[in-house]
Symmetry: C2
Subunit: 349 residues, 2 copies
């Protein structure tokens, strides 16, 4: 196996080559290191001609700036920390959302660091750690709560962050959110269209702000259309599947069972479908189930369900934009993005 063949193309001087530094480039160009540093940073103080010449020399020598040195000097890490809750988001959330963030951060030199969020009280510890050790320039987290302790901590310490979802704080902060109020309104309208008269919203945990939005939007919509609404309080987004199964069994044991369900995610839709199936109810016949489609996985649910798209790729891109804005000190008003559901409810796949 020839070991050197790959090198010649992209790494001119082979493996043992010492990484050139600013000093190397400066010596080669016959200028001071400062000049090289400025030239490569497109500082206007450097003449166009020298900038170009230095740029060429740097390319030829294969110079790449040393991130550790930059970080030590400037204090900026060029890292975004994304906190994800292993139990929830990793599953369907991550794919498109992360992809979108990569798109949005492409070319900026920012890397994405992932840490595990937890629902337990020690989740602040992870954030403190990031701050104490300066592990990132900004933090993103999800499942934002009305009175989120993470957001409060970061606001108090003036550490850049962007939430996925909103809080109820008076102090405004950057966020990217999906308009769940609009979503649930559209969903209920669609169910009314389909002739349903009793809607159940599955698991809109009121701890989370988006749960409040769902509740609010649902109440508005049912009032407007004169249909009945059930929001089971015995379960929420963090419930175990058997608790949900029990809730649905109870609901359909009585006389006034719902004839339709709105689910906020693929997983809860899948669980709901399974439970309904287990008690002998078929989606599209005795009941209708609607959901957000955030990943193509819901295309394969049987019976098929109608979904509306939450574009997580766009969410990720927006997140990146807002993050960069926050880091560079843009005003908060420009850093609050509310995304709308895309397209009408329809059979996915």
């Amino acid at each position: 196996m020839s070991r050197k063949t790959l090198d010649t193309r992209d790494e001119s001087a082979g493996d043992a080559m010492v990484r050139p530094t600013l000093r190397t480039v400066a010596a080669e160009a016959g200028v001071a290191v400062t000049t090289v540093s400025r030239a490569l940073a497109d500082d206007p103080r450097i003449a166009e001609s020298t900038r170009k010449r230095i740029g060429e020399i740097a390319d030829r020598l294969g110079y790449v700036p040393n991130r550790a040195a930059q970080r030590l000097r400037t204090g900026r890490t060029k890292v975004i920390n994304l906190m994800l809750n292993p139990r929830h988001e990793f599953l369907s959330f991550t794919s498109e959302f992360l992809g979108g963030m990569y798109e949005g951060l492409a070319g900026t030199g920012y890397a994405i660091n992932i840490t595990a969020d937890s629902l337990r009280e020690d989740r602040l510890e992870a954030i403190r750690n990031i701050r104490r050790h300066s592990l990132a320039d900004a933090i993103v987290f999800t499942r934002t709560e009305c009175f989120d302790d993470r957001a409060r901590y970061l606001l108090e310490h003036d550490f850049p962050f962007v939430t996925h979802g909103r809080t109820d704080f008076m102090t405004p902060h950057p966020f990217v959110d999906f308009d769940n109020e609009a979503f649930v309104r559209l969903a209920i309208e669609r169910l009314v269209e389909k002739g349903r008269s009793h809607v159940c919203i599955v698991m809109p945990n009121e701890k989370y702000t988006f749960g409040q939005h769902l509740r609010f939007g649902a109440r508005q919509a049912v009032t407007k259309h004169g249909v009945r609404l059930t929001i089971p309080e015995s379960v929420d987004l963090d419930s175990e599947p058997d608790e949900i199964a029990e809730m649905l069994r109870d609901l359909h044991a009585g006389a006034n069972a719902p004839d339709s369900y709105v689910c906020v995610g693929e997983v809860s839709a899948l669980i709901t479908l399974a439970c309904l199936n287990d008690i002998g109810l078929t989606q599209g016949q005795e009941v209708d189930v609607l959901a957000k489609r955030a990943s193509p996985i819901s295309n394969h649910f049987r019976p098929r369900i109608e979904t509306i798209d939450e574009n997580l790729r766009a969410t990720g891109r927006a997140m990146a934009k807002v993050l960069l804005g926050r880091i560079s000190g843009a005003p908060v008003e420009d850093l609050q993005i509310l995304l709308q559901p895309e397209g009408p409810f329809s059979i996915s796949g």
Copy 2:
């Protein structure tokens, strides 16, 4: 809103406090910076008494080492780079696997950086970038191929990496893999037990090494048990759902259709179930579908399917162990881990 209340508990001197450095601690303790550095690194050259004293002072002042400075000085980043393919792994793979890696890396100070892998040819660019900019101490990637270009590149440049899955290279390298040969053998045995006589293995793309293992194990098992085997070559793991649907329709249009399926992941199982359902075949009746269970999501498939556990949390922990071993220069023989399927096939959930 009182902004200072939280500070007093965990950050003694409030927000504006300058981060203490080695110098600060050294001055306070009346020793040289080097001594402090060594004391905190548990260097045996420092006397136990001074080490203890310095440790206490460092704690009192809230000293935390500056990562950027350490990185600049030592050249080590304390970052592991995990490359994930957005289309595949993010979905069901990530949750437990990442969780396991966190467990395994806990207390080591290592952070996990995630970059997007792609199936396109430019995927080496991401790796080159990590190497050129020294963005990580080691790289992990998945969907390892028999003649993987990423593994080849990293071997050639002697950059630490661990693959999820094996390669066919002569040069040994660290890996963590699931024994897919054992998995498929167990699966076929189980199907024979259930009275099936024609097994179809869905999508074992032969490009990937694990696809080869699946094929090999399946051929062995069908020969041993005298059953028929079908491996459709028209589709693979990267096929679109409609291609898979078409393949299954074709298969069941003819006379000698399979009476059982083995799927290698949740998503392919879900797609297979959906397609079979669409052509009027019910799992558990006309056909049986078996799969690996790597996340609880498969518990909610209806009709239920029998699964066997691939413990991705253990995989992640093993990955962390192997990574740390590779970084600290352990011999390759100790860095190759093959994990077995857990428990018998049974109804999940």
